[in-house]
Symmetry: C2
């Protein structure tokens, strides 16, 4: 059986983490004849077929490039524009994501999250002074208080409650017509993944969950979440909706989920796109049954 | 069998998330006759027996308190000192953590991570302007660019490589004499949990891991990590040490781990303390065997 793997995973990128803090190693990588720069239009990727586009790396100052790492042994960089605005999700990008295979999407996600983090974090949160990129673009240093700042990755739980061979799906007001998905929320300071799953299910749908099992994860570059997909069993299927978060929530069967994933006409709901881990979560749940 | 649960979990705290943004609901909670304030000496908890200490909530300005939530129906706050320095880990605290049960440790962790985040994030990372606490202490707002900032939680993978019924343990130079533990590292932007596990094992010990299974998680309030414990199988046990990260690494057997957890004299290593999820990870691995 083909393994069920999430979108935004499988990149062959070797991040070359040990090289980031070594100025000479970095300069040597940037000077390699084959070194490449990721082709971007703002924050959107320029795609050739179903692959990311790359161009020969031009001469760039150290603070105007980030090291992504190596693919196929070739050094890969992205351009860091010190004036760039923060990223926004464009409709064109979401169409492209449907065409990019998961490994290419993950390489892109790495670049996008990193560049966007720089655009949103140009000042020291500790003292307010403008900071400068360092460590090949994987950190920023404050020249005033010497605080080092690292890219932010926000852990998010995304989960199906499970009861009597049905799972709970919900609909946010901003979703496209017919779309339902797994519920989700940020993990807060001072809680575990399992506790965050139970808290969010109760807050959003009034569901008291028991055992929680983790199934899979993916990065999500809008701007930089770590999505962790779980299933939580419950004894009581009574839904009490938090109408600030959800427009609707309902229990769906395996047949419902199968029809939704197949895009059948008349399916109980419109499934999330394949690159979203909610889609993977539905497929993993079906594979369990 | 008693379930094996990580330290820093099981807090009965109801975080009352929906109340945070409602000024009137918050004022009403703070005005409740039984409302309590967590007893702290700087960032260290004041403990009565093996329980956290609490005192009647004094009159505090909105920006000088954070809402932890409710325990036993009683509203719980912590004092937010706008001038407090960032937290440091004290030896006294680490002794206390050995005495606090996991549920109390988690309630404390929530308060500590939240207060420490405020101390480290008084300025807007987007524009450098001083920010002010809002949402009951669960956010800060920039009066200049209107960016909302939320407490940071950094996902960290902590893992055992597994080969031939042995697991890999490593020793950092700063560890107490004899201590070995699971390897660990931050999840970066643009990678999944499973990919971060494989990357860290390769970077730190030269181990090429295959399948990764997630076992458990815990919050870790120094300053605010989400620790995710995994086991990764490998076909090749050859260790290539990154000596910047690790002083030593070695394969240990189930008998070795059992002796270490039991604190036996002559054990192959000194186990991490019970409140660290590395300890839980060892116990979960033994329970599998």
């Amino acid at each position: 059986m083909t393994p069920i793997t999430p979108g935004f995973t499988g990149s062959p990128l070797d991040r070359c983490e040990p090289a980031r803090a070594k100025v000479e190693a970095l300069e040597a990588m940037a000077a390699e004849a084959g070194a490449l720069l990721l082709d971007l239009d703002g924050y959107d990727p320029l795609i050739a077929g179903d692959r990311l586009g790359w161009s020969p790396l031009p001469k760039l100052a150290e603070e105007e490039r980030v090291l992504l790492g190596r693919i196929d042994g070739i050094a890969r960089f992205a351009r860091l524009d010190p004036q760039a605005p923060a990223a926004r999700r464009t409709g064109a990008l979401m169409d492209l994501l449907g065409a990019l295979p998961p490994d290419e999407a993950e390489t892109y996600a790495t670049a996008r999250s990193l560049l966007d983090w720089h655009a949103r974090h140009r000042f020291c949160a500790n003292c307010g002074t403008p900071t400068a990129p360092c460590h090949a673009g994987w950190a920023r240093l404050c020249p005033n208080c010497a605080t080092e700042h690292y890219p932010r990755t926000d852990p998010v739980v995304i989960m199906l409650a499970e009861h009597d061979d049905h799972v709970l799906v919900g609909r946010q007001p901003a979703f496209p017509p017919g779309r339902y998905s797994a519920l989700a929320g940020f993990v807060e300071v001072g809680e575990s993944i399992e506790e965050a799953v139970r808290r969010e299910l109760f807050e959003e749908a009034g569901i008291r969950a028991g055992a929680v099992r983790y199934l899979a994860s993916q990065p999500w570059p809008f701007p930089s979440q770590l999505m962790m997909a779980c299933i939580a069993t419950t004894d009581d299927p009574t839904i009490t909706l938090d109408q600030l978060e959800l427009e609707d929530a309902k229990w769906v069967s395996r047949a419902d989920v199968r029809a939704a994933l197949a895009g059948e006409e008349g399916a109980a709901f419109l499934a999330p796109p394949p690159y979203a881990i909610a889609n993977t979560l539905f497929r993993l749940w079906l594979a369990e049954g």
